[in-house]
Amino acid sequence: MKKFRTGLQLWCQKHCLLKTFRIMKLSTILLLVSTWHIFAAGVYSQDTELTLELGETSVGEVLAEIENQSEFYFLFNQKLVDTEREVTVEMKDKKVNEILDEIFTGTTTEYVVMDRQIVLSPKEYLAEVKASIQDRTVSGMVVDEDGLPLVGVSVSIKGISVGTITDAEGNYSLSDIPDETSLVFSYVGMLTEEIQVGAQTTIDMVLSQDFLGLEEVVVVGYGTQKKVNLTGAVSVAGKEAIENRPVSNVQQALQGLVPNLVIAPTMAGGEPGAEMGMNIRGLTSFANMEAEFNGDLESVRSGPYILVDGIPMGMNDVDPNDIESVSVLKDAASTAIYGARAAYGVILITTKKGEQGTRVSYSGNFGWSAPTIWPDFADHMSTIHAHNDAAVNAGASKWYDDDAIERMEQNLADPGSAPGMIPKRNNLNWDIENTGMKGTANEDWRSIIFNESAPQHKHNLSISGGNESINYYLSGGFFKEEGLLKHLTDDFTRYNMDAKINAKATSWMKLNFLVKYRQGLEEYPWTQGFGRDYMINWLNKIKPGTPSKYPDTDIWTKQSGMSRYQSSREEYTRRQLVISPRIILEPVKGWVTNLEFNYRTNTDDQNITINQYYWMRPNGDLVYTPPRSGTEYTSNMFTNVYMSPNIYSSYTRSFGRHNMAIMVGYQNESFQYSNLLSNATHLLSDATPSLSTSVGEYTVDDQIGHSATESFFGRVNYNFSEKYLFEFNLRRDGSSRFEADKCWGTFPSFSAGWVFSQENFYPLKDVINFLKFRGSFGSLGNQNVANYLYIPTMAVDQSYWLFGGERLWTVWTEDNTSIDLTWEKVSTIDFGVDLRSLKNRLSATFDWYESKTTDLVGPGAVLPAVLGMPVPKRNEGEITTRGWELEISWKDRAGDFSYGFRGILSDYVSRVTKYNNPTKILSTYDWWGYEYPSYYDGKDVGEIWGFESAGLYQSAEDIEAWGVDQNYIYSGAWYPGDLKYVDQDGDGAITVGENTLDEHGDLVVLGNSTLRFQYGVSANLTWKGIDFSMLWQGVAKRDLDLRTRGTFRGPADAQMHATCYVDHLDYWRDDTSPLGANPDAYFPRPYSEYTGSNDKNFGYPSNRYLQNGAYIRLKNVQIGYTIPSRITRKIFVTRARIYVSGENLLTFTKLMFYDPEAFSGRYYGPGDAYPLSRTISLGLNVNF
């Protein structure tokens, strides 16, 4: 039996109130602290015998002990009843009235016992209370907005504490109701309602959720905390913001809801079911920054630590519909209890659980998707001329000769009247390049590539219920999303099951049992040697003149890529089973011990089939590729097991106005993985790909490993009268990932809060009802590094040289790039303010923080290349991140009309405050020869260094007149249409100096790629049965350097990557171009080369080609209608709601070509991200 501590407003009767009004106001405490048992219905015996052997103590202590030992609870005004008074109590087996008689004898205090409720008051007031009670009964039913009965709602007569609570059917009955009074209905998490009784004898009530509720309980690490008592920075998103969104996963639903929770697509872009990348408050590691720089977000390791019902899991392993609430713990004080896992924040997801009374709910959603942004291809003729111009500029011959241009024109005038490609003389090949260049067909590739709309649907059915001793929640979810591509299969399907049983075994022991199962299937086209999504890369480069089919056939051309991507596929099945039995013991009131065992296992299969496809020669021969022997089947199995016993024990107790809680715990974790990778070539048949039906080479490999952690943790909470709040956390973690002498770390945190509005002298209570200041400091570790870094290891592989025609085994050179590693540490200081105003309709939270990440595992010092290996990683970097976040919400109701707004705004800036780069070199090369910016002390993370451009040269005279030696950038000839660069240091030449911060030549900071001023704005309205909501989300400032991407350069790239969208036509050309002169162009003179001459304009970042990554997006808009229950009840439906919802419907951005959230695809650079979806859906929620 859970006891909820809460405040209950106790008002005296009207005239009584008038008398005491002045005192009450002065006291500011209108709350009479009490507790009550919400589940206990029925009459409680006043004959219950109690034993109190307290000796000399205060009245308050005695009352508290009575509450502890019984179900009685006291209502009194602390100003009117002296609880500090000392009494001596030594009583055995006494009834409650005997005890109270004894301690209040000789005082002005009298008491009245009403069921479990005991009202204490000065005699004169109580007499009037008693006198006003008349003989009249009012009854009714209390339900929530879904029409479901609410159990345990407090129903009381306004002005006095007389009242009751609703039973398991939501019914209540009150007798002795005075005429001129109102009933007050209150319930945790619901808006309190008040209604005039008048002459009514039946009053039914609908309570709606109170998003700003003072009583809101927030899930925190290893427990819960009343929101008003929080001292850390915690943001919460409730189920109402997550349910009913036509999104494939929880991440999508959370985007824009929580300040400084950054959720952005990875290089998987908008692939069906794609995971997104996350960070909290911009906290990140060097490894992450590097991965992000490379667009390789899948290897990002140090994201937030995510726990679902206390079990570490992926955020998207949960069906969004099963979620009750999401807590985002942001500062070190809130996360320190998770120690070394929590350096980058913690997200706690709590799923729904069973309640009394049986409920069956179904929600379904059917949606249709199309790409958000896919740039428009330039028209066929312009494309041809642009490619030709680029070829001529590069000193090469034109891609399209006069004959091809003529054919193109003919085809445009009369589709199909001229060949889209012509056979070569030998009749074996066609004259178009493998890249599609030279094709002259009239195709509308956009409509060939994309579906008009791709369907998706999701369903969730849940059954929950229970009684006093047992409750359950059982839910099944299904989601299926089809990809945007028309002729290719890319699907995502997910099944979820969530089951929870809570049972009360004895009065002091409860048993919980949780089972969660998730299975997902991803199906994608696969490309040998590249992987998933390569077709997006390919489709991004298609030329509009590329013929899609061979003449007079239905066979896809080789250049279309379609047959190739249709022939090969990947099927990835992910299965996860979580089992968690738990025992909760409460042998003594307030002492709760949790014994939990968390078990999670994943069994994933990846099957890849490379089948044959064919293309057609001009002579009609079909060419099959790869050869039969080159067909392939890959079967990989990834399995792992996570096991973690958790024990934590807490003791909560109040001594008068001192409230204390202590918790200590122990946890260990072990993780083992075992992967089996196999591949076979030469499939006997396309129809049944398997290892058994392969007759070529077989390879088998495995990956096995394990890791473990062990931890002790504890927490102390103390508050005085819920006015001064303190919390202290400590965790000591050991991790197998570090050497024995470096594997233990201790992480403390401290936080405090001051509820100013509780003070007697609080001056603003008419304006701001509630005002709290918070401050916290703490330090955390990050153990999220790879296993065994401290041991120099040698990987075994097969040779890439054939010895006698065979691959032999080889052992790679030792990898000692990361020995001596230990924890990264994050110390955070946070100051916050929470306030509520205008009768709690307005609430606001503001936090400022500074996080210092020390001992960052960086790529090490910049060392001379003779080292001959990547510089060993060391714990030596330091980043300081400063940021703030603001959350404001408003909620109100006027008659049938209720509405709310919520806005979040956040920002941060990270600066490298220490890095072992004494010469402050600005850039270096990675192991594969890619130049990347290096770090140095004082560098703002995301800084983009480059050259300032002064526009385009217009003529040979202009080049002469500019007079700056630009040989450093490109030492060949410069032409009109190329970029001129600003000679910052006036030495007559563009250089990088010594490429250091002090001697940086003409390099300047052009911008910063950090997401600045992220915001989200949501609004919702309901009027009678109609509801409307929308969510806008955006970023106010961001610079993007996208010049390396083929799709950004357009025609200024080698033929493979050259593409031509409408905006690309704005390139520099003189009047020799068939497209006419364009001296005021945005893009420079294009060259049909990979790098070479293009380096003049795109070789280094320039302000001219920096793009504005700011955007604002209508993430979701939803209109729903709830069918009146008087209609639905006839078919035993308590509630039915239908709605229309749209995702990503509008986007405003200045960014060229790309979706501002998806511009980095899997294949690094070409801008080949799978587009995000714009989805319109129709949904239905039904409750029985």
Binding site: D401, G529, P587, V623, P627, S629, A740, L863, Y925
Partner: protein
Amino acid sequence: MKNTIYLISALVMGIMLNSCEDFLDRTPLDQISDPEFWKTETDLELYINGLYEYFEGYATVGMGGGWTKDCGTDIVLEKVGAYWDTYTQRLDGTLTVPSSGGGWNWSKIREVNHFLENAGLVEEGDLLDHYTGEGHFFRAWFYFELLVKFGDLPIITETVNADNEELLYGSRSSRSDVLDFMIIDLDSAISKMKLASEVGPSRLNRDIAALFKARVCLYEGTWEKYHLGTDFEGKTDGTDFLMAAADAANEVIEAGNYSLETGDINSAYYELFNQTDYSKNKEVMLYKHQDYLAYGNQFGNQSQNWPNGYGISHEMTQMYLCSDGLPIGISPLFQGDSTLYQVEINRDPRCAQTIMVPGDIIAINQEDTTFFNLPEVFNCPTGYESEKFRRPQYDAESGSPSHDVGYIFFRYAEALLVYAEAKAELGTLNQADLDKTINKLRDRVGMPHLTLGSIAEDPNWPDYGHSLPDYVYEIRRERAVELYGEGFRFDDLMRWRAHDLWLGKRFTGTLYTDELKELDPNMFANEEGYLDPFQVILNGPDGGYGFHEDRDYLLPIPINELTLNDNLDQNPNW
């Protein structure tokens, strides 16, 4: 109640006591740790086998372009705009100083040093010495890659660690000293390694080490001879290196383990370069074996993409002697070269076996044989496609061109050419030397012998920038003709200090006939009507190559390296 408390306490204590430090002790399960390695001879083999990967062959399948190693020199021109061969940029003098990277890469040196440091830990085994010798060979091989790019180098013989400041911030040794160091390694390799007959055709062996020693010594000998007095000079005039080159080459010749692969004079040369299996070949000493069907992309090459975007220069075609042994400028047999076909009439048979002309076979696919008709000038900027390396026999199983043509790293013919050139440069060449070297190569293709004292003066001898004895011109011609496309040309141009060959000049292709124009109408041609693919892209005088003779013989050291290490000096004039 009390029982409950005991129960909980017992549980908590139980779990805590159960967890000792062992719980956190987790060692790798699927990797070998370095300290545990280095026990047996097999461990040495496992490690050294990995280094063979660094023998670069033709571009692997799917990489696009780049088939011949000589692409970007004066004898093989690349297609404009398609590739990014640094040779063209280097000859054109358009490289810039990178901030880092730029070829200044020491990872392979580290890998092999780690091997050599640990090889001594293994005490027993028949092949112990052989594998150690392979290690010494690889270190010299990797050093040579750096030497040709940067000249002077730091000499590093141990595994450098991040705290080893002496090595990290060391200075460069003179290139002559670097060579001496490489010779020590190669002498160790020669003394330790076994013969091919003992270790098989896929591994390095004693003869290969000797030939490589000859190669690097010839390189350095001629470099120091011709760059003497310039910014690029070494410590010597090159004589000692040239003698070492001749000795090492002679060692290979005298050992008699290899010989020229001969046969029909009109096909033996051609057939030498388009085989998939050289394991039984008498001449090929080391080659990269491919097996695309069995092992995929990384074990195949781009042969299906002929002509791969490059073409043989007109200037190269003019080097071939006529079949009477006289150069085309004076031989009555020369038929001109206004058509593709004419170019190989009455010429050194290697011309016909190197250049594709109409009527040559390009594909044999089961019953179908396809003959060459006209070049794809769009993809072959000079019109002269290569017949050398081209295997017409389609792969029977896949029905597509074979991806499996082996790439040759060492063949016996090179020993003959090195010996002759070294002796010639030393001025000690005699007829017997020619007869055992150059004339053996000429015999294979039925060409008249080269005879000292009766060498006809060629009015078109290339301008190497120095006046040379007549036999040196002919030995260099022989080298270009014999080794066309095998990756020696760029190094030859550099060591001969031969910038007069290309500075301010452009190389051309075949005559841009109406027939070719009809096929590809937009190509550039010069005033005489020859294809002139680089007409508008070069950056030197007269629209030719813009090489800086005081700078571009070596690559620049990256800026960062100079910033980090004060003891490092930039190469001349960068």
